[in-house]
Structure formats: structure tokens, C-alpha cells
């Protein structure tokens, strides 16, 4: 008989915030976007016109502070990383040239190329939201001690992609054909968007596995609320603002950690965060608000200049974003697992 006594099993708490980067309340409200889940019932079910009036009045400012800055953030992050030009010459040097060329050609032939380009951007956009939700969910889960098998990871991905599919199938991008059948599929996918995260959470609880942290659950549910509920209710503009905030918070955080680890760093976190955001704000303003007028000056219409500049900047953001968050091949991975 062995004399070694095993320690008593540690009870696994069902509800836990998860290991935050900044502070549990900040991570939950801004990165988990619990704030959007709190606001959603007002947007969806309140008879008050106050949210719509507020948005109408402040939309341009909110778009600049959140949306435009977040699109620029991936670019600022890309170029502010040491050795970015040498490490990724295609992404850092060829892609901007390709994007400018594509933009100019699309505006010049807007009648033919404009609509497909817009359709690409509008389809890719909800996928980008879903991919961001998947990345953040896993990031917080790993930080909080969860491990996943391939099967469970696939279900998590399905939980993130279901809202994207619901948005595409139920939207008008696929045309006017089979609207009724598509609406039924979109409704089923909409329900799956909410049921899958809850089922995954419950399954881990039943199996006694470390539960998905609340921050991950908030990310999953806010993704579903944005792409399914707010989208259908015609108030998706709010989702874009919250998505922008979520992105800005996480990318700023990674930037700050990177900068603070650089040899010879003489600044604190606040300075790095402020300068990074200032850069994003300035670039976002120049690209979205000023660049279209260069095309107007060149003789193109205001409509195609404004819409297609936005479409190409979005697509550029999606491509850059897909590369800068390849965590396992990247110094960012250390930040995810860093106990600090």
C-alpha cells in the first residue's frame, strides 16, 4: 500500500472571469464587449428614439474614434513591429501598392468593378468579426487554463461562424432568390449562434473541465448579438463601434507589451498606448476622410470615391489582420501566455 497521500481534488469553479490582461472589469466590458450586451436590449426592444437620435448626432465622431481608428490600428501595429519590413516584404511593401492600384482601378471602372468589390468587402466583414471572436475566445480560454481537443475547437469555431453564416444567408448579398428558404436557414443559424456557446459552456461544466471564462463567453455571445440580432434590427452601426473598441483595446495592449519589452524603452504603458492610438486616429482620419477627396479632385464621383476607398481599406485591414494575429509563429504568443 502506498504511503503517498494524494491531495484532495480542487473544485473547479463554474463561473470565473478568466485571466485578464488589464483588469477583469475592463477586459469583460471592452474586450469581451459585455457593454454591448448590456446596451443590446435597449437597442432591440426599447420604444425610445434616444439611441437612434444619439447615434445620428454622434455617428461621425464615433466612427472616427472607433471604426476608422481600428482599421488603421492593424496597419500601425504591423509597421511598428521591429523588423516588419524585412520579415514580411509582401505584406508591408507590396500590399499597399496593390491596394492603391486596385482602388484606383475600381474607382475608374466603378460601374463594373464597384459592386463586386463592395460585395466582397460586405461578405468578408462579418467573417472578420467571427474570426476575431474565435481568436479572442481561444486567447482568453488558454490564458485561463482551458485546453481543447480538435473536436471542441471545431465546435467553438462553429459557434463563432454560425452568426457570420446567418448574416450572409439571411442578407441580400446573395440576391433575391429563395428568400423564404434562406430566412428559415438564417433563423436556424441564428439560434445556433446562441445555443452553441451555452452548450459548450455547459458541457465543460458537466465533464468537470475548467469552464470557459466569462470573458470568452461574453466574446462569443456579443458576436452572436451583433451579427444576428443587431443586424436584423437594422442597428448594426452600433456593432461596428463595439467591434472597433474591442479591436483597439486588444491591439493596443499587445503593442504596449511589445514596446515595453524593447531594449532601452524609457516610457510607461500610458505613453505607448496614447501614441499608438494617436497614430491610429490620425491614419484613420487621413484614409477614410481625406483620401476620397484626392479621387474627387481627379474627376471621379463622390459616391464611388467614398464608398470604394472604405471598401479597399476594409479589405486591406482584413488581410493585414489575418497575418498579424498568427500567434504561434509570432512574438504575440508570448504575450498571450505571459503570466504578467
Amino acid at each position: 500500500m502506498s504511503a503517498i497521500a494524494l491531495p484532495p481534488p480542487v473544485p473547479v469553479p463554474l463561473l470565473r472571469f478568466g485571466r485578464a490582461f488589464v483588469h477583469p472589469s475592463f477586459d469583460l466590458l471592452v474586450i469581451g464587449s459585455l457593454s454591448s450586451l448590456v446596451l443590446a436590449p435597449v437597442l432591440l426592444w426599447s420604444d425610445s428614439s434616444a439611441p437612434a437620435a444619439f447615434l445620428e448626432r454622434w455617428l461621425a465622431v464615433l466612427v472616427l474614434l472607433s471604426n476608422s481608428a481600428h482599421f488603421a490600428a492593424s496597419t500601425v501595429r504591423l509597421y511598428s513591429r521591429p523588423g516588419a519590413l524585412a520579415d514580411s516584404p509582401w505584406l508591408t511593401m507590396a500590399l499597399p501598392a496593390a491596394a492603391l492600384l486596385a482602388l484606383t482601378v475600381a474607382i475608374a471602372f466603378a460601374g463594373t468593378l464597384g459592386a463586386p468589390l463592395q460585395a466582397l468587402y460586405l461578405t468578408w466583414s462579418p467573417y472578420h468579426y467571427a474570426a476575431q471572436a474565435y481568436g479572442l475566445t481561444l486567447m482568453y480560454a488558454y490564458r485561463s487554463g482551458c485546453a481543447f481537443g480538435d473536436g471542441e475547437r471545431r465546435w467553438l469555431r462553429a459557434a463563432c461562424l454560425a452568426p457570420f453564416l446567418a448574416a450572409v444567408v439571411g442578407g441580400r448579398l446573395l440576391g433575391e432568390g429563395g428568400l423564404e428558404a434562406r430566412a428559415a436557414v438564417a433563423t436556424a443559424l441564428g439560434w445556433a449562434s446562441f445555443v452553441l456557446p451555452l452548450a459548450l459552456f455547459a458541457r465543460r461544466g458537466l465533464l468537470g473541465l475548467p469552464s470557459l471564462p466569462l470573458i470568452s463567453m461574453a466574446v462569443l455571445l456579443s458576436n452572436a448579438v451583433w451579427l444576428v440580432a443587431l443586424n436584423r434590427a437594422g442597428v448594426f452601426a452600433w456593432a461596428t463601434i463595439f467591434h472597433g473598441l474591442q479591436y483597439l483595446a486588444i491591439v493596443t495592449l499587445f503593442h504596449v507589451r511589445d514596446q515595453q519589452k524593447r531594449p532601452g524603452n524609457a516610457h510607461g504603458a500610458a505613453w505607448h498606448a496614447a501614441t499608438f492610438y494617436a497614430g491610429c486616429l490620425a491614419l484613420g482620419y487621413l484614409l477614410f476622410e481625406v483620401l476620397p477627396f484626392a479621387y474627387v479632385l481627379a474627376g471621379f464621383g463622390v459616391v464611388e470615391s467614398l464608398l470604394l476607398v472604405a471598401a479597399v481599406i476594409n479589405i486591406h485591414h482584413f488581410v493585414v489582420d489575418a497575418f498579424i494575429w498568427r500567434l504561434r509563429k509570432d512574438p504575440n504568443y508570448a504575450i498571450v501566455t505571459d503570466p504578467a
Binding site: L85, A94, A110, G111, R172, A294, V302, E304, L306
Partner: protein, 151 residues
Amino acid sequence: MFRALFAASLATLFWGLVAGFAYSMALHGRPPFGSDPLLGAREAAVRRDLPGALRQYEMAQRLSPDDARIAVEHGSLLVANGRFDAAAERLEFALGRRPDDARTLAGLADARRGQGRHGEALALYARALARAPGHPGLIRALAETRRESRP
């Protein structure tokens, strides 16, 4: 080669931004901010450049085929210029997406009135009034359409 390409892109972007900023300042007298893609169409309509405005609305609708707001503005401009059939087509499309919007209902009512379909116009004005109770323009249009519809 990459570096040369990148340098050329940056230079193009830089001078594009400088020119765009200067042009917008000259055009509007303020730094560009919060520009609406329909700005050009509205400005053309104010200048009474009907073909220019229509071209921009058509382009906007082609690029954002699902945007009912464009169809409402486009349809309203067509009504104001007496092109009631084309206006009705645009506003019907918009009403399919925004069935409770008072402005869309009123616009389609105006188009129906212009087409001489007074019964439909009266019903649409009544629906618009139910959503914007007491709106003086709607009350006036309703009264005028009733008068026009009498034999």
C-alpha cells in the same frame, strides 16, 4: 524592388492626401469630416444638375444595392422632377425594406398621386400620417389628393 514599390506607394499616398485635403477645404471651407457618399448627389440636386444627381444616386445604389435610404432620396428627386413612374419603382423597392418609414410612404404616395392613382396615394398618405401624426405637409397633401380625386 519591394522597397521602390513601397516608396512610390507612400509618395503617391502622401501627395494624394495633401491634394485631397486642400481640395476638400477649397470645396467646403472646412476640413473633410463625416462625409456622406450621397453628398455629391445632394449638391448636384441643389445646383439643379438633375443628370449629375441621378447619375450619382444610380451609382450609389449599384454599389449599395440593399440601401433603402438611397432609393428614398433617389425616388424623391424623381418625384420632384415629374418622373413619377421611375420614382414609384425606386420607392416601392425602398418600402419593401422599410415598410414603416413615414418618409418612404409619403414619397410613394407623392409618386402615386403624380401617376393619377389617387386611391393608392390616399391610403399611403394615411399610413404615413399614422407614423408621423399631425405632420402638416402630409395633412395638406392628403387634402389636396382628396380634392383631386373627386370627379
